[in-house]
Symmetry: C2
Subunit: 460 residues, 2 copies
């Protein structure tokens, strides 16, 4: 099967009508109060249509520029375009920039009309200073802009990574650089660095605990963790985009719970902000998913993983729900901890740890790392113990020395547990796991949190 | 001569001492009032050192990734790294982001200290709403952030252009997309769309003329013009960086004239903003210039031209001195108008219009475009007229039909006028021309402007 770079006529027609409908909706929002949420939905439709077509059209261009890769888990290892996440990121960024005026439409109208007395006495004042600037929520605008800046930074650095194949120990810190804009604006703008102490601990620490500079370290850690954790739960068709989509949908669900609250919730603004950032992200990701699900016609590249993780980090940090965010990352947290012996080189780490494709059966099997030298006695004991607990699979030689152990990723562990399976089935099962863990997380957040925190969303 | 990718020990030592000195200065600024201008100078030193070393170190990486080009105007057409402007852009963007808190240092201190009464009564208020946000110049922060966003957008799109070789008619609009952030923030934030009418015309149009939406078109036109005009005055070693450096230095001179005014000028803030953006730009550009001047060891790529032009457009638009800015672009404006017959295909336009290298003499000569079909009679008459005025050189066959005409660029015209010369001499002469035109422009602006405008810097 060759990769078609044209849209079929059905696709063209559908995407065109979707775009037209969305443009119509956006034009209509100007009649009312701006209706930013509806406009955001329409922008997301356009985001889907635009990235869907551009992923298709730019395929040959990417291949020609050398942005291509071989799909290793197929019988015919054909080359397909790589780094298509960059297309999604650029479409997303342009659209989210054009969306800026919408959340502020009401404020702009208020500021420009000047409460109706502009024509009477204030003409000169208006000319000299612009408009009624004191009425405008500039701090909201600044944090919105800083969010876009962080996402743009991570995209530039991600593209650099995809082009130059930066070393693991360097690229780990890419999101840290990219998080500087939100951290700085957070510092300049809010500066709230207290966290709410769980009720049982309040006698010892007080109601609020001032973290100070540590709070910025905590936020930087979130910004480093989210992108990297998506980037290491990767390697089979569709898995990067699917997990990101699940997290995005669950965050949208979480936001909706706040917006549908019977009373106006104090955190409404944060969650609206989160929706404005997430809906277009879902739009571009669905378009990418369409082309990246088994059998993949394009690869997403590290750019997508960084970009997706940064979207989550940004809404979590600026929306003040970073702890809730982490509840949706349970499989990623597990995968990260489980991977750490290889990341920190206690166990040898090959260049790629994706599951091994068995061309005879067409199924994926756990991939292994070979021990050139037998492990140290303590490491060997631990590995054999983990083997007994079915948390790893080791192969020993006749002397009982470990010669192979399965690579430490969630994907390999799943294959150890449930046996070889086809690529798409493995991806679907991991996605299902992500959904279940995430829903559990949200349940804990909304039903059980009041047991350990006295009130909901005071400052966090 | 091979391209060395290591720094010599002298270079390492110099760059290291420069960086250390700069870090020391930055650390020291925290003792006083923040001294953003001194900090900005120190950041520019770091910008120079960082981009100098990274341009050197990343050379082989760029070559390996296929970002390389042949230098056509040399006897030995060796391949050298291309798109090094992207390195400058990324270094610049990271540093300018880290610089954000400095111009706001005084405001942050004022907001956090709360005028000294924070500890007395306002504890809860502080916790609930962050800090004394009403004292903070959020609109300044927003326009600063939007400037960075525009520069980042143009860098991403420029890198895309360098990677995929986008067609001329598409890439012309890249800066238009990138200018959206500043235009939107300008709309949301200032909305001043009046221009001051020159005194002689005031009886007819009034003192101020409301341009309305046209003002945004005007700003977009500036943003499209500056990057593209630098991009088409290109093609010989060092010319792109040198002209940008001249414009940047002249803008700094212009800013300094305002800051040194005997009375506090109302536009002081705009010109401080301009300096904060320009000084680090000069830092990264000098490092690039060092490697790009004849004989070039790296190429700058379209990314640099877009990025440089956008820096100028951003300071001109947000600093409200776009007309002054255009006075510094006289050679570029001439080159653009002179090129337009080829840009609009009235005269055939080959892929490259750079001067032709004569390997025998080692000198550059005017390059020509060949007329496959003789031009239409009107076009032929005009061309022959221009030939008589020495504004173009045409070659005719025996029947008097035009078979060749020199390419319509300032560089070729210079060679037509003054004869063949070596690449570096041509570049130096064009740079000298830029300096003379720019100084004249500034003289007109500061000495003659009051003849046609009643007051200086009211709203423009």
């Amino acid at each position: 099967m060759s990769v078609p770079s044209q849209l079929s006529s059905t696709e063209t027609l559908s995407l065109l009508s979707l775009s037209l409908a969305c443009f119509g909706i956006i034009a209509n929002t100007f009649h009312g109060d701006g209706e930013p949420l509806i406009a955001s939905l329409a922008f997301s439709g356009i985001a889907f249509a635009a990235s869907f077509s551009m992923i298709r059209w730019l395929g040959p261009t990417f291949m020609k520029a050398g942005l291509k890769g071989k799909d290793m888990s197929k019988v015919h290892k054909k080359e397909i375009p790589e780094t298509m996440g960059a297309v999604c990121a650029v479409v997303y960024l342009l659209l989210i920039i054009m969306f800026i005026p919408f959340p502020f439409y009401k404020d702009i109208v208020a500021a420009t009309s000047g409460g109706g007395n502009r024509d009477v006495v204030l003409e000169i004042h208006v000319v000299e200073t612009g408009r009624f600037l004191h009425r405008f929520p500039h701090s909201k605008l600044a944090s919105y802009l800083s969010a876009i800046l962080s996402l743009q930074s991570v995209s530039i650095l991600g593209i650099g990574d995809d082009l130059f194949d930066i070393r693991w120990r360097h690229k780990f810190f890419i999101p840290a650089f990219a998080s500087i804009p939100i951290l700085i604006v957070y510092f300049v703008d809010f500066g709230v660095t207290q966290i709410v102490i769980p009720t049982p601990l309040q006698p010892y620490f007080g109601e609020l605990f001032e973290l100070g500079p540590l709070y910025y370290l905590y936020m930087a850690a979130i910004a480093i963790f989210c992108p990297n954790s998506i980037n290491i739960l990767a390697g089979i068709n569709g898995i990067e985009v699917s997990q990101s989509l699940v997290i995005a949908f669950l965050l949208v669900l979480n936001d909706t719970l706040y917006l549908l609250a019977p009373y106006p919730h104090p955190a409404t603004d944060s969650h609206l902000f989160s929706l404005y950032m997430l809906l277009p992200f879902i739009g571009v990701s669905l378009a990418l998913w369409w082309h990246n699900w088994y059998p993949a016609r394009v690869f997403v590249g590290d750019t997508y993983c960084y970009f997706a993780g940064m979207v989550f980090a940004v809404v979590g940090i600026l929306g003040h729900f970073s702890k809730t965010l982490l509840l949706l990352f349970i499989p990623q947290i597990f995968n990260f901890i489980y991977s750490s012996p290889q990341l920190f080189r206690i166990v040898p780490c090959p260049r790629h740890r994706l599951p091994r494709f068995n061309a005879r059966t067409g199924l994926l099997e756990p991939s292994v790392t070979e021990w050139q030298h037998p492990p140290k006695p303590t490491v060997a004991t631990v590995l054999k113990g983990l083997h007994k607990l079915h948390l790893i699979r080791v192969t020993t030689n006749r002397e009982g020395q470990i010669i192979e152990s399965s690579n430490l990723t969630l994907l390999n562990l799943w294959l150890v547990w449930f046996g070889p399976r086809r690529e798409d089935r493995l991806a679907a099962e991991i996605v299902a796991l992500q959904v279940v863990c995430g829903l559990l997380g949200l349940f804990v957040r909304h039903r059980l949190a009041l047991w350990i925190f006295r009130s909901d969303n005071l400052t966090v």
